[in-house]
């Protein structure tokens, strides 16, 4: 792989241990000539404050729910000019909640864009409020005793849009994320990647442990790496954990995060059952 400069410049105002910074750096390594569309969220800040800008690419900041629609318009304009740049929507799980119809609409139209949801499992930019992807029992400022509902499976929902490429990724496995971007960039049409992005202040763990926590999520099977490019397959890092016996450290994963403080053994049992179900659900797609 040729060595490229990061599109995320140093000195950007992200928090210590920010997973978005990792993701954005990987993005620049994989894509040749991206234009980046950013709705409201943490990355609005990460991208810098005028007159400084931290992403070395054309960046368009747009309203919260609008990003995939704006990207659709840009795709139309580029098509008319024969411009081949990759149009990337870089959003959080908040943007994917409020802009769900917008993502869905762009997917249905099979717009020639890459949508990346850097999923830190809550509205972090406004100070840790519960989102559609917040983990069951996770404490946020709007679920102070723990979230009472299950998270939605955004990537699987996007899969059901019958688009050419859908994948999950993790900031704990950046080479895998880069491979997926490399694959996605060769495909035309709507491509979707949900990037698991553990957030130190939001999940209450030390800022030196972002990658570690992200890997724990994969090893205990709570976050599953897979991709669909016509056929669903589990990615190498997750493949061993198809075998339930090989999944390790769920308790440690949960106990390492302040947001799960006070969680008891029966809760962990329930979470384990839900993880099993998620694997079975995806295996059914794998075997389809």
């Amino acid at each position: 792989m040729e060595v490229k400069e990061s599109i995320l410049l140093s000195g950007n105002p992200s928090c210590q241990g920010c997973p978005h910074s990792l993701g954005l750096r990987a993005l620049g390594l994989a894509l040749d000539d991206p234009v980046v569309i950013i709705p409201a969220g943490c990355s609005t800040i990460v991208a810098g404050i005028h007159p400084k800008a931290t992403i070395n690419a054309p960046v368009l900041h747009v309203p919260f729910a609008s990003a995939p629609a704006v990207a659709s318009g840009i795709a139309s304009a580029f098509r008319r000019e024969g411009k081949k740049k990759q149009i990337v929507v870089w959003m959080g799980d908040g943007g994917a909640d409020i802009g769900f119809a917008t993502i869905s609409g762009a997917a249905v139209r099979n717009e020639d864009i890459i949508v990346i949801v850097s999923d830190n499992e809550a509205y972090m930019n406004t100070g840790i409020q519960s989102s559609g992807t917040t983990f069951w029992k996770a404490k946020t400022t709007t679920s102070p005793t723990g979230k009472s509902e299950e998270r939605k499976d955004l990537a699987a929902i996007m899969l059901m849009h019958r688009v050419p490429y859908v994948a999950t990724a993790s900031v704990g496995y950046l080479p895998d994320f880069i491979n997926k971007l490399e694959k996605a960039k060769k495909i035309r049409g709507f491509r979707f990647i949900q990037l698991h992005s553990p957030c130190p202040p939001g999940w209450r763990f030390d800022s030196s442990k972002t990658v570690e926590i992200a890997r724990m999520a994969v090893k205990c099977g709570a976050w599953i790496l897979w991709e669909f490019d016509g056929k669903l397959s589990f990615s190498p890092a997750s493949r061993p954990y198809k075998d339930k016996m090989k999944r390790t450290g769920l308790t440690e994963y949960l106990r390492a995060q302040g947001r799960f403080k006070g969680i008891d053994d029966s809760d962990i049992e329930t979470i384990e059952k839900n993880i099993d179900m998620q694997w079975k659900f995806l295996e059914a797609f794998e075997n389809f």
Binding site: A47, P58, V59, L60, H61, I74, F78, R80
Partner: protein
């Protein structure tokens, strides 16, 4: 298609969009705007219009998509109405603050509840403070002309442009229209220009900035919209040279020697003109000042034209707790009496105007204590059960 023909407002707008060589259309259907969307989709599908048509899933995305195509340098168009306009409201402000030229037609329709698909103007006027150039058509011809003027003016001042036209009265009513031949439109409408184009160089648009920077940008936009007055004057004169039709900021009708002046906008102005003709036969010195643009609002011109006259402002809209919106506007420069009528699409015809204007000129219009007169009184007196 060129020359004289018969078509509805919605069809005429679609023709104008085609003649303007629009490159990207994104729109979501809503009664009574739907036909515009359908016509444009047909034109794109049949190759009559060489453009991209984005079948968005909502109005918010319609304006978001044309924001994207316009900021990336393409002539772009959308259309909406009432609740669709309110649903895209966030994008309305974003597009204006981003100084991106594009054109949107608003088929004016009452805002619910109760559900009501008929015309009033409150929806269009919710855009008043946003930084858009806002025009309003009286007839199908004007809807066509303003749409074409819109692209030119919008691109010249780097502000978005909207033209309103009344639900059904224009959108679905066939009238005689003079279309323009392509070569004349091409001559009038040069290649698109805009203050910046997104997508090539590594620069950032819309990021967080210092407060002083935001304040400066707002003042810039304010001044650009104020200056648009001169641009509308210039562009409408050019258009008049080509077509013989003036689409300037204001239209005077028998106003010169009038002692009584009516101020209004939209389709019902035509009926008001007929009423004025009738009253003139009775030697009542009454005339009309039609507002073709609400933003920029040419206060000085209005003040000059209305100086010394008894002024009646007719609103088909309401600013709750204040009055008719045009009433509030016109009272910025002259004293005026304000009537709100035609809300929810209630028919207001020539006879109504004759009655209204007569009562006004006789000084018998009893303004309620809240300063505005709701017409016709019997609707409000009886109450509805």
């Amino acid at each position: 298609m060129s020359g004289r023909t018969i078509m509805t407002g919605n069809q005429a707008v679609a023709e104008a969009v085609r003649l303007a060589r629009t490159e990207v259309v994104a729109a979501y259907p809503i009664t009574p705007q739907t036909v515009i969307v359908e016509k444009l989709a047909e034109m794109v599908d049949s190759g009559l219009l060489d453009a991209e048509f984005i079948r968005v899933e909502s109005e918010h995305s319609a304006l978001a998509a044309v924001y994207g195509s316009a900021v990336a340098g393409k002539r772009s168009f959308t259309a909406t109405s009432s609740h669709g306009l309110l649903y895209m409201y966030e994008m309305i402000w974003w597009v204006a603050n981003a100084r991106v030229p594009l054109v949107m037609v608003v088929v004016t329709r009452t805002i619910g509840p109760p559900w009501n698909i008929h015309t009033d103007h409150t929806d269009l006027l919710t855009m008043r403070d946003s930084g858009w150039i806002i025009a309003m058509a009286e007839n199908v011809q004007e809807a066509f002309d303003l749409t074409i003027n819109g692209f030119r003016i919008s691109e010249e001042v780097s502000l978005p442009y909207t033209a309103g036209m009344d639900a059904f009265q224009l959108s679905h009513t066939s009238e005689v229209v003079d279309l323009l031949e392509q070569q004349y439109v091409d001559e009038f409408l040069p290649e698109r220009r805009q203050s910046y184009v997104f997508g090539e160089e590594a620069f950032t648009v819309g990021c967080i900035g210092p407060n002083e920077y935001t304040a400066r940008l707002r003042k810039d936009t304010f001044e650009a919209l104020k200056n648009t007055e001169k641009v509308v004057d210039k562009v409408s004169r050019e258009y008049e040279e080509i077509t013989g039709r003036n689409c300037g900021l204001l239209e005077e009708y028998r106003l010169d020697d009038a002692e009584y002046a009516v101020v209004m906008m939209g389709a019902w102005s035509g009926d008001a003109k007929d009423a004025i003709d009738e009253l003139r036969k009775e030697s009542l010195p009454i005339g009309l000042l039609k507002l073709r643009y609400i933003r920029p609002m040419p206060y000085k011109k209005i003040q000059k034209l209305l100086d010394g006259k008894q002024v009646l402002v007719l609103d088909r809209d309401c600013s709750m707790g204040a009055g008719g919106i045009l009433g509030v506007e016109v009272k910025n420069c002259v004293e005026a009496t304000n009537i709100i009528a035609g809300i929810g699409g209630i028919d207001v015809g020539v006879d109504d105007f004759i009655k209204m204007f007569r009562v006004f000129s006789e000084g018998k219009l009893e303004v309620e204590k809240n300063g505005v007169y709701w017409w016709p009184p019997e609707i409000y007196d009886k109450g509805m059960r």
